[in-house]
């Protein structure tokens, strides 16, 4: 049972995520249109297509692989979600700089650390019902987990739980100001994207167990 991942794994996960985000373009646009400006699907699809267009293999260096993703976002998108994700990736990239292997057990603290930089950048507080609340939940729930399989199931469940937890809360951030009541009963688009991404990633992580590659 795998307890580590490499930069190549990051590349493989990235492809799974990108394909899933492209697939969900219209759904994400609709979700964002309900309370935001309706562009999240387009934004994520644009970034994803740029990621998929780069067909060169990702290096084993985990930090370098993560940075490569951040750089593609930097080139292609300037949305709130992109900025938040890019910030997190840059922090992770620095944390894992020159590491050819990262133990899963290090994921929770690394993610918590990244979350801090994302919060500092985004000015959103936990509880504001943004993607950050989903990430926070993942970081909390995966604490102490050291195997790929457990990680996959737990992270996926954490994003689903976060969605359920915040469904009843009003939305606060985002480009369109909402009525305070609005957003209650709906999911935050960024949190849904996180759920989709981690579900897709989980698929890719399991691939590795059966010998999955970068492509």
């Amino acid at each position: 049972m795998a307890t580590v991942f490499t930069g190549t794994d990051v590349g493989a996960a990235m492809r799974r995520v990108a394909l899933a985000l492209v697939e969900n373009k219209d759904r994400f646009n609709k979700l964002d249109a309900a309370g935001g400006d309706g562009d999240m699907g387009t934004t994520l699809a644009t970034v994803s297509q740029a990621l998929l267009a780069d067909e060169t293999l990702y290096p084993d260096d985990v930090g370098e692989s993560v940075m490569r993703i951040a750089k593609t976002i930097a080139r292609t998108s300037g949305s709130s979600l992109s900025a938040v994700v890019m910030t997190g990736l840059i922090t992770l990239g620095k944390t894992w700089s020159a590491k050819h292997e990262v133990a899963w057990i290090e994921m929770a603290p690394a993610l918590s650390n990244a979350l801090e930089t994302m919060q500092a950048r985004s000015k959103a507080r936990l509880g504001d019902k943004t993607v950050l609340d989903g990430i926070a939940r993942v970081a909390r729930d995966i604490e102490g987990i050291s195997t790929t399989e457990k990680m996959r199931a737990t992270a996926q469940q954490a994003t689903a739980d976060a969605l359920a937890e915040f469904r009843g809360c009003p939305a606060i951030m985002g480009r369109l100001r909402l009525e305070p009541s609005k957003g209650v009963g709906t999911d935050d688009p960024g949190m849904v994207a996180l759920h989709v991404a981690i579900s897709a990633m989980a698929g890719s992580l399991s691939d590795r167990a059966v010998g999955g590659s970068n492509k």
């Binding site: 387009t42 480009r175 369109l176």
Partner: protein, 332 residues
Amino acid sequence: MKKLINSPEKYVDEALAGMSLAHQGAYKISGSNGRVVERAKKKAGGKVGVVSGGGFGHLPLFAGYVGEGLLDACAVGHVFAGPSYDDISESLNAADRGGGVLSVIANYGGDTMVFGMVNDTLTAEGKDCATVIVADDVASADKDRAETRRGVAGIIFAFKVAGAAAERGLSLPEVKAVTEKAMAGCRSIGVALSACTVPQAGEPTFHLEGDAIEMGMGIHGEKGLWRGALKPADEIAAEMVERLLNDLKPVAGTEVAVLVNSLGATPLEELYILYRKVAQLLEAAGLKIAYSLAGEYATSMEMAGASVTVMQVDDELLGLLNAPAQCPLWRA
């Protein structure tokens, strides 16, 4: 979607290409994504560079204000979606003349975050960077959360002030300070009469059927203060001015700059009808209009509606507003 376009995907790039062709020699398109608009002729070395950036679909804002006495460069995003980190970074580099760079941006999540990242990175690399975030829309948040307000047409005055201050050779802290002074006394509010359609979406972001208008709506269709039946222009002007002055609370005798701005489809004729009343009301409130603009400055493509901006001025600000400025889309 009834627009003179070829395809939603090419909307921004073709429009930028046409903009640079139509105003031969004034706007230079550059950047690795072709999303940097810079002056064809850079300003003198040593002066502060002034940069902005934001979503597309608001022309003349943002890129149209690249020119002498205004911006040095501008990062162009997608329609109603901010520019990328690279576009912004390249814009700052294009604007850098050795005197540091001031970013003047509107207060939207993506823009402030990405400009923030670029500024932090370039600062870490040793460049002098500073930022002014414009948050002038009184309708978008109460006064106690004024720092969360959206940035709208007031940014035009910020560009004018910062651009003129930079051209005069003021230092980066000075340019930043005078621009912040301007924005501290600047308030805007908008009213929408119809929606607009983001090409990639293909359908209006919202609907204003029949005689419905929305007071306080943002330039991307952000929810306003109330939605109701159209009123006479004078009544609309009265509410807008009242909301601005209630928030700004200027002392009588204060000199102000005024901008009555079309959101796009509203014609000059109607703007002037609105301006007439706005001017009367400001004078009646004991204010003196020392500088005025009326026209299309910050639009939302084909949205119908208008915004009113009032900014307190002193002699320094007035001098900067009246300083020379020159670019195809600047009109004073």
